[in-house]
């Protein structure tokens, strides 16, 4: 959490990617020392001089080697005619159809051979289109299932150091992100992977270079949506509308967070994700996400004194939505969090701040 937060909010420069860990403390010092840089020219020392020509900076990239995914958006790919090809019905239908087609062709043949041929051609086209649709549906499903495989492989990589397992993980990741906007960054991340890295080192590298920027973006979206939900609830006078609004906002949030990690928004994916999120929330149990307790810890008396009943309700809804957002992140991230698990407490603080500033004038 701390790391990714740094990436998004710290105005100060972060060091080169390989220095990030070491520089964590220095950064804070310089930030407090000089707030505003003054413009100045200098004569570059030999190390500062431009020896090789600069590299291009491409879309979705920020120096030094940080990803910027605020533009990220995936289009839904509609898959039509799924139900028609449900397997069992299909089989039954097929036998009937083949029978009928055969009959018709025979009848047409009696009329004229051209009629028979035409009918035959049309039925072939129908057959081919059907097969292709099924094929497309299955590849999409397979890609979504790749998620499970990736998570499993990642877990294994962390425990055992084996080159083969690493290769398999990388191959799965590559195929999952192929053709998606994340691909460029993944490729770059993999190309900067030191070739001696093994097991958890590979994981750490992918986690740091590829996933952390995505986390930061996802977290941004969680914050945005949860505060939006909370504020709308606090402002709207009808309880029934609240419910519908917050439900809609949450579904939208789940979609958008999924997109960050490469899950295309579609009906089936949404359902699958919802199932996982509920599972995750249930498994995490009361302790991890106990909203009331956190509120107590973070805001305590100040909330009661600051906010009316209506506002506190809004805040509560916002917090729940943040909770769902974090759960979504956890289930749609291709690997489990290693060291930077986002926590609800920090988010809560942020939300309360936003609420305070939003409703300052109303009090």
């Amino acid at each position: 959490m701390k790391e990714s937060n740094d990436n998004t909010t710290n105005k100060n420069r972060t060091g080169r990617q390989f220095k990030v860990e070491v520089e964590g403390k220095e950064k804070e010092e310089t930030a407090s020392k000089s707030k505003v840089r003054a413009g100045k020219d200098f004569k570059p020392t030999p190390t500062e001089q431009q020896e090789a020509p600069p590299q291009s900076i491409v879309m979705g990239e920020q120096l030094p080697n940080l990803a910027d995914y605020s533009y990220l958006k995936l289009e839904a790919i509609p898959i039509r005619g799924l139900k028609l090809f449900a397997w069992s019905v299909c089989l039954l239908m097929l036998s009937l159809v083949v029978w009928d087609v055969y009959d018709t062709i025979a009848a047409a043949m009696a009329l004229h051979w051209l009629a028979a041929f035409g009918f035959f051609a049309v039925s072939i086209v129908v057959l081919v289109v059907g097969i292709i649709t099924v094929f497309k549906y299955r590849t999409d499903r397979r890609k979504q299932n790749a998620y499970k495989t990736i998570r499993m492989l990642a877990h294994r990589c962390r425990l055992v150091s084996s080159k083969a397992a690493d290769q398999q993980l990388i191959a799965e990741l590559k195929s999952f992100y192929a053709g998606k906007p994340q691909q460029a960054l993944l490729d770059q991340c993999l190309s900067s992977l030191p070739n001696y890295a093994l097991g958890h080192e590979v994981m750490a590298h992918i986690n740091d270079v590829f996933l952390k920027p995505l986390d930061a973006e996802a977290l941004k979206r969680v914050t945005r949506f949860s505060s939006k939900t909370g504020i709308t609830v606090a402002l709207s006078p009808w309880a029934a509308v609240d419910m519908v609004l917050s439900l809609w906002c949450n579904i939208k949030m789940i979609d958008e967070i999924g997109q960050v990690y490469g899950v295309r928004p579609s009906f089936t994916n949404r359902i699958a994700m919802l199932k996982n999120i509920i599972g995750h929330l249930a498994a995490a149990g009361a302790s991890e996400f106990a909203v009331d307790q956190i509120l107590e810890e973070v805001g305590g008396a100040s909330i009661a004194s600051h906010f009316s009943v209506r506002l506190s309700q809004g805040l509560g809804v916002g917090l729940y939505s943040a909770k769902i957002g974090l759960a979504t992140m956890a289930v749609s991230r291709p690997m489990e969090f290693i060291d930077n698990k986002p926590n609800l407490k920090a988010l809560t603080r942020l939300l309360i701040e936003q609420f305070k500033s939003q409703f300052k004038s109303q009090r």
Partner: protein, 488 residues
């Protein structure tokens, strides 16, 4: 005798035949262009940018990236990402009256051992990029390997001329009024000096003295030149052809000046002015200027564009101070009224073309550290506010980006600050730390950071390998926003 007649007839018929065949080939060319447009395979790209905003460099680099697509970094451009770009060719425009874009000369200059920037553009030019693309698989045919060509028309022109576009909708008297308001304010007042008084002293109703007028025009041109060439260049410089005439047959078109006293007369009085008065003479020349220079320029260059990229040199204006930023904002908002935005179907596009995608780009982003690019974009958004909102209102949500046609600096750390290092115009190594880029300019406060320090100019980077594309910043993103959707 008979031989002679025969020859004459022969040559006559040949010339007619030539003409006819020319006509036919022109018409077929036109037809195929129209068909391609109908078929969504030809895009007319409008590169829009004030003088020195980096248009020529941008176009040169864009062509270079595409031609060297195998080695250049264009990972944000979907056909390259999906490996569907099969080849790129540079062709001349079908309109033979417009010269070829001097790509070879410009790129050779950038890739020399001692590289230099493309020279300032003095006349119009253009080219067509043909992208050979593989079709994406369709549901009917997932194994399709079919190729098609996408033609992208690009035109380059001196940026000064862009500011002639708003003149088209302004009559002479109003232009004089606008000038009068401008000239009485800093920084123009100071640059004008005595000329301000001399212009104010001319009575529009007096009979014209052509010598005096010519003399005034000369001084007016030199004033415009100073506006452009000073340490801090201004943006709103009209009329553009005064600075960069291009090819003009009738030079008298240019002999007029704004008469600052016009504002104190009513329309009726001006209407009734004698034919040989200063007002009538200048007004006639102004009208001719628009009819013969501004209108054709608009028609040839901007009336038919489908997609637009607006290049803005935010950094230079920021460097000069709030007055100059405001001047640039004014200039950009004046220009934007000449364009119509909106989603449009293909058939209507042939008759009333509208821009259905627009990208606003802050150019020369390599002059600031990358962490400040997002502030640069915010600043850009506030500068192009008017056009941005218009486009958005018409249903064309614009994209904004910080770009550089040629990235000529690297980022280093200097005494704890993020700094840039490159070469200056003499080729010596330089580096600098710049003050943070503000995300917006607050009115009435001068930005201290840039007040007593100027961002130095970089030379292009030295490239060891001629076959490699020049390094850029986010051209791929611009390209994808502009034409990515037409590539599948």
């Amino acid at each position: 005798m008979i031989r002679k007649t025969k020859d004459a007839i022969n040559s006559l018929s040949r010339s007619y035949l030539d003409k006819a065949s020319n006509f036919v080939s022109e018409q077929t060319e036109q037809m195929s262009t129209t068909l391609e447009r109908l078929n969504d395979r030809r895009i007319c790209l409008g590169i829009t940018g004030l003088s020195q905003s980096g248009k020529s460099t941008f176009v040169t680099s864009l062509i270079d990236q595409l031609i060297n697509y195998k080695t250049s970094s264009l990972s944000g451009f979907s056909p390259v990402l999906e490996k569907r770009l099969m080849g790129v060719k540079l062709l001349p425009l079908s309109n033979k009256r417009i010269a070829n874009f001097p790509y070879q000369a410009s790129i050779a200059g950038l890739k020399k051992p001692q590289p230099n920037w493309p020279s300032s553009t003095t006349d119009i030019s253009g080219c067509v990029l043909e992208l050979k693309l593989q079709k994406t698989a369709t549901p009917l045919n997932p194994f399709s390997k079919e190729n098609f060509s996408l033609f992208i028309e690009i035109r380059d022109y001196p940026g000064e001329w862009l500011l002639d576009l708003p003149l088209r909708n302004m009559d002479y008297a109003r232009w004089c009024g606008q000038c009068s308001a401008q000239f009485n304010r800093e920084p123009r007042k100071q640059i004008l000096g005595d000329l301000l008084l001399d212009l104010q002293n001319i009575d529009p109703m007096d009979p014209v003295n052509f010598e005096v007028l010519a003399e005034l025009q000369k001084r007016f041109v030199s004033f415009l030149e100073q506006c452009k060439a000073g340490e801090h260049p201004l943006s709103l410089i009209q009329p553009g052809r005064f600075l960069m005439p291009g090819q003009i047959e009738d030079k008298t078109l240019l002999y007029f000046v704004p008469l600052l006293k016009v504002g104190s007369f009513t329309d009726g009085q001006l209407e009734a002015a004698p034919e040989n008065s200063y007002f009538k003479v200048c007004e006639k020349r102004y009208k001719d200027y628009i009819k013969q220079l501004a209108e054709p320029f608009y028609k040839d260059f901007f009336s038919g564009i489908d997609r637009q990229v607006v290049l803005v040199d935010v950094i230079t204006a920021l460097n000069s101070g709030p007055l100059y930023l405001d001047d640039m904002r004014q200039a950009l908002s004046n220009i934007s009224d000449s364009f119509s935005y909106g989603p449009q179907n293909r058939i209507m596009q042939l008759f009333t073309p509208k821009i259905d995608k627009v990208v606003f780009a802050a150019t020369k982003a390599d002059q600031v550290v990358s962490a400040d690019h997002s502030s640069l974009v915010k600043l850009l958004e506030s500068l192009v506010d008017h056009a941005y909102k218009t486009a958005q209102y018409e249903g064309v949500p614009p994209t904004t980006e910080a770009v550089a046609g040629v990235r000529s600096s690297i980022e280093v750390e200097h005494e704890g600050d993020a700094a840039l290092s490159g070469f200056d115009t003499t080729g010596a190594a330089i580096g600098y730390v710049h003050p943070p880029i503000p995300a917006f300019i607050a009115k009435n406060t001068t930005d201290q950071g840039f007040k007593d320090w100027n961002i130095p100019k970089f030379n292009p980077p030295i490239l060891p390998d001629e076959n490699q594309a020049v390094p850029h910043i986010r051209l791929d993103s611009v390209l994808n926003s502009l034409v990515g959707d037409k590539c599948s």
